[in-house]
Amino acid sequence: MSADPTPNELIRFDNVTKRFGDNTVLDNLCFSVQTGKHVTLIGPSGSGKTTILRLLMTLMKPDEGVIRVNGGQLFPAGEKEVREVRKNIGMVFQQFNLFPNMNVLRNVTEAPMRVLGMPKDEAAERAKGLLDLVGLSDKHDVKPTQLSGGQQQRVAIARALAMRPQVLLLDEVTSALDPELVAGVLDVLRDIARTTDITMLCVTHEMNFARDISDDVLMFDAGRVIESGSPEKIFNDPEHERTREFLGAVL
């Protein structure tokens, strides 16, 4: 939560405020994430966790404040700069949001080919590797609608990774899944967290998963970070009353 830039800082929110009408969702928020760290955001519903990810992904704009990613400024900034910065960020959504009109392989190759200008063969090669990684090597030609939710979410993870982002944003990626499909998706993510040096910013209600993979946990409430630290500290010995209350309810 320090306010001075440090050399290996990848994401930085400075006094970011976001309002919806009268509802101030983020209130002068400051925080930063170091390169390569896996950070989990926890907090009660409506505390603004999703909003943070959507701001980073430029799906909405803050009302005030500055957001920086990898030195580049996301807000305020011109459309072109934003596009450059955005290429470093991947996101996986709660509802998967695969493109239903493309088969699995094309879902994964589309962006590298069109955005990074990767040749078709190379993109396909890479996509196959990633689909192997998420355990779907036999589903290349299938349309997303023919997959289970868990399979769709694993394709979505592969799709996000295909752009080789520096940061991966994950917003409750298992909460739309049937309980028996959750484990498969979390295993894939654990694998990625372990074997790559990607920076992860992760909103989740799966506290065990958060404990497993996180370097840092940020506890949110009412648009502010009220507590942060290692998962051991946060889960075993929270400082704030609010955190204790929240963990008491979800654990």
């Binding site: 949001n97 493109f99 955005v115 996000a160």
Partner: protein, 216 residues
């Protein structure tokens, strides 16, 4: 039916076929124009405010005023602007423009039915706007769009007789010319009326079948 004259029907048939050809020509070109122009409007509806607002105004205006008056307007005004166009061209442009404001709404509804998550996923993958539109959004919107467009093609068919007002030799104008010459009104007009039903009814059955298949 006291004075129905079959020979008047036979006399009319050759010019009727000419008229039908013109009608179909207007229909095909007008449809293509309205499909493409409507898409432009629909994309405009989603643009920034300074695009959206004028596009809305123009399309509302065109949609809420009669095609017939628009036909006169273009027919008499285009030349004053130095645009030389035949009646057929003017008519096709006018009907295409008029219907583009309807197809724009069809596109808009189809596009709005694509879940917001698809736009967000495209942004998250940094897809350029053109790819987002043509590879992600439109292919999904199309199944709602196609049957609705088909229905407007049928409506357009039924509006082609208006082009007689500026002298386009479509079916109705042919019927009128034949009547003005022979003073037999019943036969040519009845032939044209039946022709419309014979074309429009099967076409609308086809559209309904298509709708059932595509929109589920």
């Amino acid at each position: 039916m006291n004075n129905w004259d079959w020979s008047a029907v036979t006399d009319f048939m050759p010019t009727f076929w000419d008229g039908l050809l013109v009608t179909l020509q207007v229909l095909v070109l007008g449809s293509l124009l309205s499909f493409s122009l409507g898409l432009v409007w629909a994309i405009g509806y989603r643009g920034p405010r300074w695009v959206r607002w004028p596009v809305n105004l123009v399309t509302e205006f065109i949609r809420n005023t009669p095609l017939l008056v628009q036909l006169f307007f273009f027919f008499f005004v285009l030349p004053e602007w130095g645009v030389q166009a035949s009646a057929l061209t003017t008519g096709t442009l006018a009907i295409g423009l008029h219907y583009s404001t309807y197809t724009a709404q069809v596109y808009r509804a189809g596009i709005d039915a694509v879940p917001a998550g698809q736009w967000e996923a495209a942004t998250a993958l940094s897809l350029p706007a053109s790819r987002t539109w043509f590879a992600v959004i439109l292919p999904q919107a199309i199944r709602r769009i196609v049957p609705a467009l088909g229905n407007y093609v049928i409506s357009m068919l039924k509006d082609t007789p208006l082009l007689m007002a500026i002298g386009v030799l479509e079916m109705l104008q042919q019927a009128r010319l034949a009547s003005a010459q022979s003073f037999q009104y019943a036969e040519p007009l009845t032939v044209v009326g039946i022709a419309f039903i014979l074309i429009a009814y099967p076409a609308s059955l086809l559209m309904r079948a298509l709708e059932r298949r595509l929109v589920r």
